[in-house]
Assembly symmetry: C2
Homo-oligomer: 337 residues x 2
DNA sequence: AATTGTAAGCGCTTACAATT
DNA sequence: AATTGTAAGCGCTTACAATT
């Protein structure tokens, strides 16, 4: 027996709608699910009954028979604070929502909590809560393979470097080559770089593009310093280059946050940008526009990456096979080069 | 008939566990739900069967009979970008997660998208997706009353100013009085303020506390300028005060973001803080620590507010009546007073 | 009295049958 | 052939009966 708390009327069911419209439950179900094999007049009277009763399908009942929850997750395997302070994520989330658009799925943000073991998130994702997931992957293949082992389909944003896993990524090597070529075209011959962490694909590939451009131009790389994508690390890396006394007239910095750090250090050292040193960043973050001089940088459209990933996930859930997508990047010219 | 995609084995059900353990479905259900009226030996063998089969209850089936989804929402009726750039929100979200702790509910972040009409979120919340919601309320009573009309219980963080709706809030008036009293105690007699927007409860009440403190001390209020909680508005309001030529030796600014804006303006005008003008903010945001001089401010613990709200929602869902909670605030002394 | 099982039912979808 | 209905079943929980 089911009891209802006082004052709460049970929500109308398919049965109620069917009775009011004078048809069977099956017919109502067909109308609700947009089937075309219902007579137009029947559709009309069922829709009237639905709106009269303010009927809304019971998700649990539907999920039980369809074996679909109607929920997808946007997974951010990062500690809380980081997520909310990195402008990449709101953009990414917004893009994902756009991508799911009218698909009638509920989008859940799953953010790893600081101190949470990785398997807590895996357990959540693999417990029937969600039908599929988009993973903002900025980590190595360990988490990726674990995610891939799950029963639900997953699309990665950022190459997880694991065969067989569908992903959307920027052409990191090409983008970095473009950035470096831009410096070379402007006549710079001693080009330095501040890289991202080299245990991340984005870190390694942006360094690769840098090297490729110089090799193609017959130039030797200038000083190379490793950063970790934080502003502080950009500041420190720039300081190390200056302290080394190495000669350089331009620098490719693997993200905008580090690039603004480098701008700060150069400013303190009395170097003029771009006259004494040209600087190009990566990401086209909001701060690239705000810095002084404006930071020339490469686009890295988090929203578009996620929009495409969402579309891929929808296809996958519909049984349509998908292949990974590589998006192009282009330079945004401001004052720093 | 139900078909399974090739290669996918159907997940084990209660039935499977029951068979393996040699008991009925009902008994397995009792063990799964932690009932105490099962014989210890039975519990043991059922648990063994569960772990052998890696059984996990089907949420949809459970939800269908219990009429509970096991999902609660943290609702942020704010545009996307704002949310992710305001440090209040990660703190709040983290606190909510803490509050739900081990309660085995799934927490969903529902963030209004820019351009979304308010009823889109209402429809979502009222469509059986969630059992209840915490709403980070920084808006007037219009949204609050709409939310309160829904079938699910809602707890507000921030007084929605609508009778009968449970909320958690800071004692805004008392906190602002404390802040202003601190300035008076330090010997200041001409105390100005930059308020928040006066269509927000927090804006009005912080102004009220300011007035109360001055009245109690027998002092006239100094210049009063209205801001909108952004840094730019703090800068502009401070400039207006300076331009007015009004006399003042201290200022209470209704949030830290505006206070740092005011610090900037005072710095540009050659005023020394705290010697020429003492400044106290509100929120104890991260930037209060980073500014120079460090900003003296009032605590406004988003995480704790949300933790308490989560606990209230859990109680409400369990049928336990709750009453609104007002949390105290205290000053954090740094260099600006 | 303590423990377990039986059976109904939650609200849907969908294969198949029946009707027009 | 187009439209509709019948009835089974998805995987649980829980009132009540039955058993020890």
């Amino acid at each position: 027996m089911v009891r209802f708390p006082d004052g709460e009327r049970p929500a109308p069911t398919l049965e109620d709608v069917a009775r009011r419209a004078g048809v069977s439950r099956a017919t109502v179900s067909r109308v609700v699910n947009g089937a075309t094999l219902v007579a137009p007049d029947t559709v009309k009277s069922v829709q009237a009954a639905i709106s009269d009763l303010d009927y809304r399908p019971n998700r649990a009942a539907r999920a039980l028979v369809t074996r679909r929850t109607g929920v997808v997750a946007v997974v951010v395997p990062e500690a809380n604070e980081r997520v909310f302070n990195d402008p990449f994520f709101p953009q990414a989330y917004h893009g994902a929502l756009q991508g799911f658009g009218n698909s009638d799925v509920q989008v859940v943000l799953a953010i790893a909590q600081p101190g949470d073991p990785a398997d807590r998130m895996l357990r959540y994702l693999d417990s029937g809560h969600v039908d599929g997931a988009i993973v903002l992957s900025h980590h190595g293949p360990a988490l990726a393979t674990a995610l891939a082992r799950m029963a639900i389909p997953v699309v990665f944003v950022g190459d997880p470097e694991t065969p067989g896993l569908p992903f959307v990524d920027l052409d990191q090597v090409d983008a970095s080559r473009q950035a470096t070529e831009l410096l070379i075209q402007r006549g710079h011959r001693r080009v330095a770089t501040i890289t991202g962490p080299l245990d991340m694909a984005a870190g390694r590939r942006r360094l690769q593009g840098f090297r490729d451009a110089l090799t193609a131009a017959g130039l030797e790389p200038g000083p190379i310093e490793v950063g970790d994508f934080t502003q502080a690390s950009g500041r420190a890396a720039a300081a190390r280059i200056l302290a080394s006394g190495a000669d350089f007239d331009a620098i490719f910095v693997a993200n905008d946050l580090m690039a603004t750090g480098a701008l700060y250090t150069f400013g303190e050292a009395g170097l003029r940008v771009p006259d004494d040193v040209a600087v190009i960043g990566f990401d086209n973050a909001a701060l690239a526009e705000q810095s002084s001089p404006g930071l020339t940088t490469m686009t890295n459209p988090a929203d578009e990456l996620c929009r495409v990933a969402a579309e891929m996930l929808i296809k996958t859930l519909a049984g349509v096979p998908v292949t990974s997508v590589i998006l192009p990047s282009h330079p945004v010219l401001r004052g720093s080069v």
